[in-house]
Symmetry: C2
């Protein structure tokens, strides 16, 4: 184990005080270029790295960002982590991951952690973005947070999102453009704010095209493969079938695909299927899934940025926010309507 070298070693090596070393490390002004160079040379020569515990104990920053998630769609969580870390690394921040079980005692899981860790900020992923106990604990402990894709109470705190309504609107129009007039829709998990927005986009597109939205064509799902499977069984069970099904996420769309396979329905010749999210699973079927690419990593990166730059939410002002672009990914599971 290499002997621990501290700021004092660097100060001695470069012939300045520790405070000046500290200034250089933190990019504070009022350091002569020449001095700065000497210090940086010493840092490099000694291979010095500031101790994060000492830094956070003495100063205001902990150099720690938290990511809270629950009931993880694995791909989603991993994308969030990768996106957040990409930004954090550059600034010397690290990521603490905390799965929260919302069916358990949330307060008990969150409060002690916030008190011990004193993170600089927390990124909230759905459905935690809307969990009242989590939000309250964060506010009580004074830990800044950014919500990803929150559902309601948008004025409460900073957030990052994409336009779920418009994306669903566009996807529905894609289907309509292919000649589909009878389209089934599977709603997402009711605890996720995005679910209602995606549903709205579907309804708006149908209305704008003067197409009826039949209530027996809309099923409630839970974002799981199984719930998509079961919804598809109901949707496709009778002789009177829709020619396309738009599921609010990929997992459910894959459930629809499984039912279609089992019923020997040709996709997309007899049934078009569209998903939402562009998870890895979307390419892990045949035919590959037409879906909406969410900028998950980018959203997480933007959230990390907001946290690290210490954006403030001024009382009475709308909170800082970012709306990122989505992308329609048309693959093989959607095609011309039959007939």
């Amino acid at each position: 184990m290499s002997a621990k070298i501290t700021i004092h070693d660097v100060a001695r090596e470069s012939g300045v005080s520790i405070k000046t070393v500290s200034r250089v490390l933190n990019r504070e002004p009022n350091v002569k270029a020449d001095t700065r160079d000497r210090v940086q040379a010493a840092v490099a020569a000694l291979n010095y790295r500031p101790n994060i515990s000492a830094r956070s104990l003495a100063g205001a920053k902990a150099y720690l960002i938290g990511v809270f998630f629950d009931n993880p769609s694995p791909g989603y969580v991993t994308d969030v982590q990768l996106g957040a870390i990409a930004r954090c690394r550059q600034e010397g921040y690290h990521l603490i991951v905390e799965p929260i079980d919302s069916t358990g005692d949330v307060e008990e899981q969150v409060a002690p952690m916030l008190a011990t860790l004193r993170m600089d900020g927390v990124i909230l992923t759905p459905p935690l973005s809307d969990h009242p106990v989590v939000l309250a604990a964060l506010e009580r402990e004074g830990v800044p947070y950014v919500r990803i894709a929150p559902g309601d109470d948008i004025e409460r705190a900073p957030w990052v999102s994409m336009d779920d309504r418009e994306a669903a609107y566009d996807m529905t129009n894609h289907l309509i453009g292919l000649g589909h007039r009878d389209i089934g829709f599977i709603i997402g998990h009711p605890d996720h704010g995005a679910s209602a927005r995606r549903h709205q986009g579907f309804v708006d597109a149908m209305r704008d095209a003067n197409l009826p939205v039949r209530q027996d064509r809309v099923e409630q799902g839970w974002f799981s493969f199984r719930s998509g499977f079961e919804a598809a069984e109901r949707l496709l069970g009778g002789s009177d079938r829709p020619t396309a099904i738009f599921a609010s996420n990929d997992d459910m769309a894959l459930g629809v695909m499984a039912v279609a396979n089992r019923m020997r329905l040709d996709v997309p010749a007899q049934l078009s299927i569209a998903g939402f999210d562009d998870t890895p699973g979307a390419r892990i079927t045949w035919p590959q899934l037409t879906t909406v690419r969410q900028p998950i990593a980018a959203m997480a990166g933007a959230a990390a940025d907001m946290l690290m730059s210490g954006v403030e939410h001024e009382e009475g002002e709308p909170p800082p926010s970012r709306l990122l672009d989505f992308e329609l990914v048309v693959r093989e599971s959607t095609g011309q309507a039959p007939g």
Copy 2:
């Protein structure tokens, strides 16, 4: 923001010195039961939580465990995190996740992080479990680590694994028991130690059943859907086809399934397909995949345990290790051999 309460507040409240509070917190001996109770009451009353930075600065423990991963199969990574955290929470430890890009400068990614964070230990997931630069950096910085499913040099450091060879052996026997005599095999990513062991298990089972292992029935894959897809195209391309294909992981098995669907081969009537890992994707197809359930969360939990309990690897001794049980999960993608 609730005012920060410190060990001094607790000491005052319970009428003892901060050292005694510290003793209680760390479960040190030599505290009168009565005193201990008073302190614990004060901790509860004040809702006190020790500051992790102060603790790790003053003491030896950081209460931080790292998880390194690369090129993540999302489900795998999430399982590892959940498994590790479940144990860490009880002991007041937290998880730092660090994706490592092994195609980049690994030393540069790992060394500064180890120096700043001074974690109590690191959990290495494949293929990082065998990455020489990562191992060397860890050892140089004196950070203990546990390797999950390492490939070689098993004596070097503590590890947790499952018996990949035996699992592949059992799966191959399952296929043989179904009457298959001509079985294709897709090898996993060569950087993952498990790949060779799974291949070996296949070969051993074939030998033990006096079945030939034809070289044109064994394809090299990379653990990706695409590589499984391409291997299956080669395996199934001619008129002389195997009646079953055993892929070294689920993603590749799903690639085989896609080729079978495209060729209108009935699974399992005309072709049996087996995977390995039991990722969520295994249930997200139809027919559902017969596979091997890896105890991923349990392996990560065991690794976290070893790290937190500070197991030492004595010079000249074999390192501490755990071999966990797997489980054959027979679903619908395997069946009687045709004819």
